[in-house]
Amino acid sequence: MVYYISFILIGVGIYGILTQKNLFKTLVSLTIIDTAINILIISLGYIEGCDVPIYSKYTQSTNFVDPLPQALVLTAIVIGVGTLALGASLLIRVYEKYGTLDTEEIAVKEARK
């Protein structure tokens, strides 16, 4: 279930990037794709009816969820946030230069130069 939802979310993100005219909305769509991929990775490591992958005296279970995808997702989240910050700072500069974030208006101003 979660598996298919995350694919739908990836589709939503790509649709947003392709159709939105406002650059900020494309950045939001990009974060939707990032999050969807992270959810997908977590769902791939999940095993039905298993415990959290931490061993202590309270959890007597011998069956654990695969911890490696969770470790990978932590790294992927950090990279995603870094890219998001870079994209947002580029957008601030774009706004300073053109005075707008609309792709059509920017194209008009580029052509006029």
């Binding site: 990836i10 790509i14 990037i17 650059l23 494309t26 950045l27 990009l30 794709i33 990032d34 991929i37 997908l40 990775i41 791939l44 490696l68 995808p69 990978l72 790294t75 992927a76 990279i79 995603g80 870094g82 890219t83 870079l86 994209g87 580029l90 957008l91 500069r93 774009v94 230069k97 053109y98 920017i106 580029e110």
Partner: protein, 450 residues
Amino acid sequence: MTALLIAIPLISAFIFVPFKEKSKYILPFIVLANIILLFNLPLDTAEFMGGWKAPFGIVLVLDSASFYTLLVVNIIFLLISLMPQITDKGLSIILLILLASTNGLILTGDIFNSFVFMEITAAEAYIIGSSKKNYYGAYKYLIVGSIAGGFYLLGAIYSYLGTGSLNFADISLNMKESFLPYVALMLFIGLAVESKILPLAGWVPDVYASGSPLTPAILGTGVTFTMIYLLSRIFITVLNGYFLDVIYIFGLLTLILAEIAAFKQEKLLKALAFSSIAQAGLVLSVISLNTYDSLKAGYFHLLNDATAKIILFVIAATIVGSFMKNKTAGISFSIASFSLIGFPLFAGFRSKLLILQSSFESGNYILPAALLFSTIIEAAYLLKWNIHLWYENNEKSERIPWNIVLITLILSLFIIYIGLFPDTYLKIAENITNGLMNYKAYVTTVLGGM
């Protein structure tokens, strides 16, 4: 010890943050230290990070392929850093981090680790791409690059599902057949953006033609070399030649369409950007024939293309007006463009001949036809630009700084030397090919004779 190749540039980048203005004079020394260290490392070894043995931990592999790719990429960085006018405005710190991440990308033997290094490389590439106030082009590059990064991550995760391991050697041994198409497709989409395959290379003209000479000079040579190495490592060594037919078709389409687009451009930098897409397509389609000779010819052509592209991009981005006041720079520009077209006596002729030979030997006639067709178009637009730049009357011509003239002149003399005695480049290409093709030796190096 191998990890120092990544650690030295990374640590020095953070040390030099307070001395932003001075760092461009220190950059060549750090790159030089990297090259000296590289020659003192033992070949055909794997270093286990943190002491975890191969399938469980991250490995850094130094075989003959990664050694010679590292050598080429570091020398490209050295050449760029010797032109301090180009690495202005604190961008030399970005270059240091870029050097660390490309070195890591070449050395790593772990697919998730390669994703991390690829994202660092891409982030530095966005920053370099935004120089000369080209923020909109850099933003478009960021959007395309991050989607590609996401697909690469998906490919890495699916190969983990199919094998239970993230290690390159382990994946090549234990990959399940049913997972191969998804993994190959997703990794290909991820790598196609950075190695400039056409439907995904729409960002290249926007970023390369921004006017800053640093952007195309480093992204079009050093980073492209790294990405094509990584692509051939993944598809030839790890996936054992699976999916190469698709790459062959995409490479051919890229070659022809990009040459036609380059012919139509009215700006020199945009024409050169499309020409660099076309050369990447040619190299990828030759490599995907997957024979010893074709891989050798592909890497030989990639080396020639990198040498010529440094000269062309640096001169094209710094010159104002005609060559009449910069005759030396004009001569090196002409030599580089002749080499790119493939006139006899120049290095490009040797590599195009080798490509033709190797594709005829493997019974392929479409690639030679496309190569000859593209060469005609290439000759048409490069000669047009040469005549235009030599004979145009422009009053506001300025002199190019002496060190840029000197370095481009030395590189263009080297092109003629390679055209007469191609052994230096052939040896590098042969060694890279040996490392890529000999996948049993790679597995033994990483897993220790398991």
